[in-house]
């Protein structure tokens, strides 16, 4: 019997019966199923109706075959004795329970068996698998990421490779069930590896876009308006030049112009604390540029650039009276209810 003459239905039925007898020793099972394909072909050629209509579901066919062949209980002889015996029984029971769950879950999902739904979804997985492998061979090497991988700046080549790999994956997916035992196992293992690789390595890339947006806030929304910068004034209305602002958790507020391109320091230079001359250790906290002038001039003499008076806020304890935000003040200073 050549594969061409075996109809898809016969193949499917055979495979299902074989699956249901998966717990048997391979030689025993092969023996038992030796004539099955020929038998099914003959039944199929003989009349109307599906094989399942005339012979019952593959699982019940397998059960009947097993029972009639006297294989309900594992042979207690020789190599199968003792512990192995019990393991075989356990495995078989698990298999039977699995088959039952398969049918029950299937009824809920509107299929005779849940595994049939999974089988119906398989082509979707084949496409996804091809795409993941395309990402593996292309995007990974560039260090970049896009849904259609680029190969050496060529999106077209990347797309062509993706399509080709998807096609290969689909063809492979259709043929895998007909492979011999070992090639089939290898194919399934490789498929699993691709799935794991896709989940572990690729999934973070898919989220990366969101990370980028969140990590560089352009400002803050407060009272319905955009707040792009904060200035701290003391009680006398003087600008507090080195005030840093923290939220209720003690984290520096990352608000303001992130790069100090003006002020004569040049882009990328580390902000210097004007009171100490030391580089600001938490240099992402407010204020980012030491020589800010503020949105308005105070009524008194301007003390720009000079060390902060002691009655004003210290750099780590910003004044609260002049700021327009409720989030000022280090966590230690906030009163607990």
């Amino acid at each position: 019997m050549t594969p061409e003459t075996v109809t898809a239905e016969v193949e499917q039925y055979c495979a299902s019966v074989r699956d249901a007898l998966a717990d048997l020793a391979p030689d025993v099972r092969d023996d038992l199923l030796e004539d099955l394909a020929d038998h099914l072909m003959e039944v199929a050629a003989e009349g109307e109706g599906s094989l399942a209509d005339r012979l019952g579901e593959p699982s019940s066919y397998a059960a009947e075959l097993r029972s009639a062949a006297g294989l309900d209980v594992p042979e207690a002889a020789g190599e199968h004795a003792g512990l192995q015996d019990r393991i075989l029984v356990t495995v078989r029971r698990a298999g039977a329970a699995g088959a039952q769950a398969d049918s029950r879950l299937g009824r809920v999902l509107g299929y005779p068996k849940a595994s049939q739904l999974i089988r119906a979804l398989a082509p979707g997985w084949w496409v996804l698998r091809g795409w993941i492998v395309a990402q593996l061979v292309c995007a990974h090497r560039d260090g970049g990421w896009s849904y259609i991988p680029t190969v050496g700046n060529s999106a077209l080549l990347g797309a062509a490779i993706t399509v080709a790999l998807i096609a290969v994956s689909v063809v492979l997916g259709r043929r895998t069930p007909h492979f011999a035992d070992w090639p089939r196992r290898i194919a399934y293992a490789a498929s699993l590896a691709v799935a794991v690789w896709g989940a572990v390595v690729l999934a973070p890339y898919l989220r990366e876009t969101n990370y980028t947006i969140q990590s560089v806030p352009a400002g803050a929304d407060m009272y319905g308006g955009g707040v792009s910068d904060l200035y701290v004034y003391d009680q006398s209305g003087n600008l507090v030049p080195s005030a840093r602002i923290y939220d209720q958790n003690g984290n520096p507020l990352q608000i303001g112009v992130p790069d100090c391109t003006d002020g004569g320091r040049g882009a990328g230079s580390t902000p210097i604390d004007p009171s100490t001359g030391e580089p600001l250790t938490n240099d992402w906290s407010y204020p980012l540029c030491p020589d800010q002038t503020g949105p308005f001039q105070p009524p008194g003499p301007v003390q720009s650039g000079a060390p902060t008076p002691s009655n004003a806020a210290s750099p780590t304890a910003p004044a609260t009276s002049a700021t327009s935000t409720k989030t000022t003040g280090p966590p230690m200073a906030s009163s607990s209810p």
């Binding site: 038992l32 020929d38 072909m41 012979l55 019952g56 029972s67 009639a68 006297g70």
Partner: protein
């Protein structure tokens, strides 16, 4: 009572009896059992029984090549099979006599 329940106990005997007439391959034996009146016999039961009788040493097999269809595995009784058939037939005859006597008059002949 379902006749499939009864069949389970006597399928060995039925298969051996069919093979006494003539060697046969699996599906051929299924057909012959059905045409002999065992309509309820399941394909899988017959194949399983053949496998078990073969493993038990009651049958021999040989492959018959065929021009159009697949090569078929034929089953044949060997001497052990014939002995088993004779013994089983005696047991069945006694059993069925007892049952018939017990049930006499219930079913109109």
């Amino acid at each position: 009572m379902d006749s499939t329940q009864l069949l389970k106990g006597v399928l060995d005997l039925a298969v051996l009896a069919v093979l006494r007439e003539e060697d046969g391959y699996g599906y051929d034996i299924v057909r012959r059992l059905r045409s002999a009146g065992l309509d309820e016999v399941g394909d899988a039961s017959v194949y399983g029984t053949l496998r078990r009788l073969y493993s038990g040493g009651a049958l021999t097999t040989y492959v018959v090549p065929s021009e159009e269809g697949p090569h078929r595995k034929y089953y044949a009784l060997n001497s052990a099979g014939r002995t088993q058939l004779e013994l089983s037939a005696k047991v069945w005859a006694e059993f069925s006599r007892s049952m018939s006597t017990m049930l006499e008059g219930i079913v109109a002949a």
